[in-house]
Structures are given as structure tokens and as C-alpha cells.
Subunit: 416 residues, 2 copies
């Protein structure tokens, strides 16, 4: 339905018709991946893969097997037949293929919030005597709230950076907040609203120079932009698996702890799965070692197994090609924005430079909330983000150029 | 195969043959429930429903729908179409039907370990100036380890009760550990190894008289014994949903916070889903109120939805009938134990009085570990628990009297 309406509405623009988007899709080497996902109602245009990624067909099949056979038939025996290793096996896969991490540095379990809590506490306690956590005002809410809770409990100062409204916290902003009292700097690598990429290498170097550790939230970065945790010297990281990793609703999050730090850090939730030989059920906690030390309770197996299939597809595509496609998609979106939306009073809420932008875009308009609802009603699924922002997530494996075209055309129609 | 072997082996015992078990099953009003679960290979005798409960057929069906339709088709829209309320909706159901809790007191999310951490910290901080946590040496490992971590971080004393080896911690044991320095008493309501039931009302009253709060682990109690959180005056509780609640491997745990305490308690992990209006994404954490305040991150939807179907069946059966069946099963097991296993050198590791025993039994034997492995090899799934214990979980909805008969007969055969 959107296609029909927008065909008429955008007919005036020579050369920027739907054929161009179709040609881009035809030339896209990642296009065939889309068929490996459930795409559902063809009238729906899904531009929210950075909120909840699509369902990989392999994951649907795998979940059936895990439910019917591993739970239904094998029952408790499945713990010895593969479940026990899921957090570190999937963690290592994500680490190697998407984060530039080494084996034993990444585990998957708990939510991003809980993992952030564990590593934030561990990071702060690793710098005794230092009383400040640095973060930015636009950081993802759960990170801000959790840090606020930790600061309250420990009597720490939460030192806020007001980054650039579009470009986010720059190295100079971080540098200005640093001194010998800072224990930890925590930022998102890709900002959840503006899509701005923070300079992980430069900021980590500045933090280290001041004697602080860094904790990165990779939720909107993992699977969309190359991350080099080893090379940048990042200390700690967490991130979500239900966005570009397509792990499913509320799929458990990953955490990263740099090998060199693992021996000296203690996370606060000493659950049995973080203990050496948990089924010994012995007296006294002893850390398991490696990323396993940072686990706590029994992982949610059904929500965990689905993560692997999405990550395998991303690995197969390769983060280089994913990034190239992400840039091509957002560049195309910005191009249509310039042509169609600027005349309608929209402003660009994300960086114009593709090198500084993740795989989602943000368009601001004074009637954004109403326009978002209008999009939803006409089958275009995006996000509304305060203030006055329409966010569109362009997932390299599943978003087509025609989706971008049709979604922006629908938005232009609604705003006209 | 087990049936054939044991038929011969136990033929000598007049009147205690398999016919008696068959007659008990025929008279069991809960027997039809078993057909509503996936039972798999009929040669397997599953006596571990307190480690991982069986798969309800409804849950398998529901998971297909959630994966294929709610994730695959509705995608992010499903958050507004039911996912957002899952933690409190399922929490209220568990609370009302199984725990004697009031609406708004129970939520389901995170693991038992993480929930225990949250409530243990909240409980201790609600009693400023008091520096001790009381628990028992035989408490479930994750509770002990997490409490140990909290004690270390806060410089608290962990005051250990050595309860009776079979009957666990009695009110007098707790009373002896109490004084004006105790902030929190935390125990399991049903002990994970011995099955001993701790007297929640008496112990809570003693704790309150000393000015302390109580935090109960209901993992082996929920769905197997009646729990009256309101009536006993219990303050806080956590528990597992993948045992008698049949929620699936690693299904998220529940937490309970007594209404009267909610306003005054602060849990440490201030994630966005514990905040008022999380999607406002505003500055500053403000508790959501009710049990929601004790949530943190995005719940693992796939692992969460499956919990509801198991709980609904338990509710339909009614906790009174579940308890009666559990007692009948464990009484029958103890009767066969006396007849078959005592002569082979076994001792009873669980209370003999059914009123003091949950729905699992523990038999000790010096070769228990080897016998456990032998059982497993012959298709009888139980648990080994240090020291020298074979634990058998008898789940009221899915364990038959013939399973108890055949399982114990196989054990007697192996030990002969």
C-alpha cells in the first residue's frame, strides 16, 4: 500500500524514483541474506532492526529442536550435552567475529543492565580511592540509571558530559571531565538516539592516561560497525544481542572483560555459575576464571540459544561487508532526507559524515511523535525518540534499499 | 527395560509389587495431567522434576506462536501487545496461586541468583547499623556465595547456622544466631538436598522480634508445598520457575517484596525497566512502584512466556491437591526405601515426617555417586548430591507411582 501511495507522491522527483532503490538492491551482495529471515507481511516496512532484529529462520528451527528435543526429551541431561557451555561458546563467537576480542573474554548471560551493573561496580572497585564515574547525559537510560544507583550506594560522583547534540561525546569533552579522581569512563560506542560513534581508541587512551578504566556499551554497535576491543585497549564492555545480532526479544546480553584485567576484578554478584566447579556445591566462593567468573545464575537457555544463529550469519557476511552495507543504506537515507524531508521542515539528528554514524538515522520534526504514529498505522515501523525524533534502524542483513525508499516516502507523504 | 529387570528382582516381596503402584496411579486424580506434558521416551524414568521440570505441551505450542508470530511477524510491536506486562502478570499469577502473595508483590525476571542479590542488598540496607546476615551452611550454593560476596563488599558478618543434617535449620537454631546486630535472616523454605521444610512462620516471627528481615528461597517449595508469604509475615523471597513450575531451562526467577516494605526498600540495580515510564528515557531514576521497582533490564521473553503455562496447570490442580500427591509419592518412596534399600546399607537423608518434607527424597549410600551413574545408564534420571546422596524429585503433576517403584527397584538392583 505504501508503495502505491508513494509512487504517486514522489513521481515528480526525476531519477530518485523507486527504480534506483531496486537497482541498489539488485547489486547488493548481502541481499540474499534477507531470505534467511522470517519477513512476514510484505506490506510491512520494518525500520526498527536496531530495536528488535528479525527472526532468523535457522533460529526458529533451532528453537523447535531445543524445546521439543533438548528440553522435552533429553531434559536435565541437556546441561551436560551443551547447555552449560552456551554462555562462553556464544560469547567467544561474538567476541571473535564482531568485537575484536580474544577467547575467554566474552560471555553471554543476564540483561545488559545487569551486566553493566556488574562491570561498573567491578571497574569502580578496581580503582580504590577514586570517587567519580564519567558518562554522558545522552547515554542509554539504563546505563545512566544503573550508574546513578551505584554512585548513590557508594557515595560516588557521577560526572556528566554534555556531548554535542548530534556528534555526541568527543575525546575533548571526555578529556575535560578527566582528572585523578575518575575511576571509570562509561559511554556508548554508537549512541542509541543520534547514531554518533564515539572514538573508542582516543577516549580509552585519554582515560588510561588519567588512570581510569573504560566501560563501553556496544548495544547499537555490535554487528553494525567494526569494534576492536583488543586494539583500542578498551577495558570492559557490555552489549545487547537482540538488535543487530537478531537474538530475539530480551535475549541475554554479552559482557567483555579484557584478559589482563580478569584476575584483578571482582564482579559483585557471586552466583554459582561464576564459581569454579559449581556442581561441587562446596563451601566458599572461588572464581571460575576467565569470562565465566562474571556469570551469576542459570542462563535463560531458550533465550540464549537463538543468539547463535544470528551471530553466525553476521560472521558469514563479515563485519566489513556489513559495515559497507550499513553505510550505503544510511547514505541513501540521508540523500532522500535531503531531497524530500528538508523541504518539509525536518532536520538531521544524526551525523552527516558516514564514518561517524552507526547503522541507524535520526530525523527531527516538531510533529515527530504524531508522524511516528502515522507511519505505524500505515505499516512503516520505526521508533519515536524524545525530543522530536524519528529513528530508523537500517539492519545490513535485512533492510532493503526499497525499504528505505518506501519508508522515507511514507514519512514525506505524512508530513506534507 | 527397567520394569522387566525389577519385576524379577523384586518378585520376592509379597504385596509390594508393581501392581500396587499401578493401583495408586489408577486412583490418582492428578494422573491425567501427565498427558499434558511431553513425556518422550517411555523407557526413561524421570525423577528429576525438581531440577528441570518437564515440558508442558501448551508451552511448546505457545513458544511456537511467540517465535513465529510475536517475534517473526509482529516484531517490536509485541512489546505493546503483551510482552511488557509479562514479568508482573506472571508474577501475580504465581503469587496468588502458589505463594499466598497479594497483587503487585511478585515479579518474574532475571535469575534466582540476581534476584537474591537484589533483595539481599535491599534487605541489609533497610537495617542500617546492623552488620550480620544469618544463613545456614546447607543453604543452596548460589545463595551462600551471593551472600558471601555481599558480606565481603559491605564488611558484614555472615553468621552460619549448622542446622540438623536431616531436618535442617530449626527455629531454635535460628534463635541462637539472632541478636540486635542481625539485619537479615535468609534460608531456603525447602532444602535443596534434604527436602527439609523450614518453619517459615516461626522463624520469621523470631527474626522480626530481633528486628531483622527475612529473605526466603522458595526454589524447591514453589508448586510443591503451600507457601503463605502473607500469613507468615515473610518480608522477601525469591525462587526458581524451572523446577516444579515447569518454566523451562534457565527460565527467569520470581521475586517477592511484601507490599508494606516496597516504599522503603531500594534494590541496587536501577535498570530502566524498574523505572517509572522507562520509554520516556528521561534523566534521573525514579522507581516504578510495586514489584516493578525490583526489575532491571529487558526480560528474556522466550524464556519468560513458557513459565505461564506450567503455572496455570499447577493453579488448576490446586496447591492442596499437589501437596497431597507430593506427600503420597514421597511416602511411597520412603516405604519402598525401608523395604528395599535399608537392607542394602542406605540411610534416609530426608525427614521421615512427611509434614517436614518437600516433594523430593534423599537416600544416602557410600557408593551413591556410582549408583547415580548406574541409574543414568539404565534410563533412571535422578541427581547425585554431595555427600553420598541420591536425590529423587517427585513432581506431583508428572511423576507416577510406577516411576517411583521402578526407579527405586532399579536402585536396589544396582546396589545389590
Amino acid at each position: 500500500m505504501t508503495g502505491a501511495r508513494t509512487g504517486a507522491a514522489r513521481a515528480a522527483g526525476e531519477g530518485d524514483g523507486r527504480e534506483r532503490a531496486e537497482a541498489l538492491d539488485a547489486a547488493d551482495r548481502l541481499a540474499p541474506y534477507r531470505d534467511r529471515f522470517v519477513t512476514g507481511d510484505p506490506r510491512v516496512i520494518y525500520l526498527d532492526g536496531n530495536s528488535l532484529g528479525r527472526l532468523p529462520r535457522d533460529a526458529a528451527e533451532r528453537l523447535r529442536r531445543v524445546v521439543d528435543v533438548e528440553w522435552g526429551e533429553r531434559l536435565v541431561r541437556s546441561w551436560d550435552e551443551g547447555w552449560m557451555d552456551l554462555p562462553t561458546r556464544i560469547g567467544d563467537l561474538i567476541g571473535r567475529e564482531l568485537l575484536g576480542a580474544r577467547p575467554g573474554e566474552v560471555a553471554v548471560a543476564d540483561s545488559t543492565s545487569v551486566n553493566f551493573y556488574k562491570l561498573c561496580v567491578a571497574g569502580v572497585e578496581a580503582r580504590p580511592g577514586r570517587r567519580a564515574i564519567v558518562t554522558d547525559r545522552d547515554n542509554f537510560p539504563t546505563d545512566r540509571y544503573v550508574a546513578e544507583g551505584i554512585a548513590r550506594a557508594k557515595g560516588l560522583e557521577l560526572r556528566w558530559i554534555d556531548g554535542d547534540p548530534v556528534d555526541g561525546p568527543r575525546p575533548a569533552d571526555v578529556e575535560a571531565a578527566l582528572d585523578g579522581g575518575v575511576a571509570l569512563v562509561t559511554l556508548s560506542h554508537v549512541a542509541y538516539r543520534t547514531s554518533a560513534i564515539a572514538d573508542m581508541a582516543a577516549i580509552t587512551a585519554l582515560a588510561h592516561r588519567a588512570g581510569a578504566l573504560t566501560l563501553w556499551d556496544l548495544s547499537h554497535a555490535a554487528g553494525s560497525v567494526p569494534v576492536d576491543l583488543t586494539g583500542t585497549g578498551a577495558d570492559l564492555a557490555v552489549g545487547c544481542t537482540y538488535k543487530y545480532l537478531n537474538g530475539g526479544p530480551g535475549a541475554p546480553a554479552f559482557l567483555y572483560v579484557r584478559s589482563e584485567l580478569q584476575g584483578g576484578l571482582r564482579q559483585p554478584i557471586w552466583g554459582w555459575l561464576g564459581r569454579r566447579d559449581p556442581f561441587e556445591m562446596a563451601q566458599g566462593f572461588e572464581p571460575a576464571g576467565g569470562a565465566t567468573t562474571f556469570l551469576s545464575g542459570t542462563p535463560p537457555v531458550l533465550s540464549l540459544v537463538a543468539v547463535e544463529d544470528g551471530v553466525r550469519m553476521l560472521a558469514e557476511a563479515g563485519i566489513g561487508r556489513l559495515r559497507a552495507k550499513g553505510i550505503a543504506l544510511t547514505e541513501y537515507a540521508v540523500e532522500l532526507f535531503d531531497r524530500w524531508l528538508v523541504p518539509l521542515g525536518f532536520t538531521l539528528g544524526c551525523p552527516r559524515d558516514p564514518a561517524r554514524r552507526g547503522s541507524h538515522v535520526l530525523f527531527r520534526h516538531e510533529r515527530a511523535r504524531k508522524l511516528y504514529q502515522g507511519l505505524l498505522n500505515s505499516g512503516v515501523i520505526a521508533d519515536y525518540r524524545e525530543p522530536q525524533g524519528i529513528r530508523m534502524g537500517l539492519a545490513p542483513l535485512t533492510t532493503r534499499f526499497v525499504d528505505v525508499h518506501d519508508g522515507l516516502a511514507a514519512l514525506a507523504d505524512l508530513a506534507s
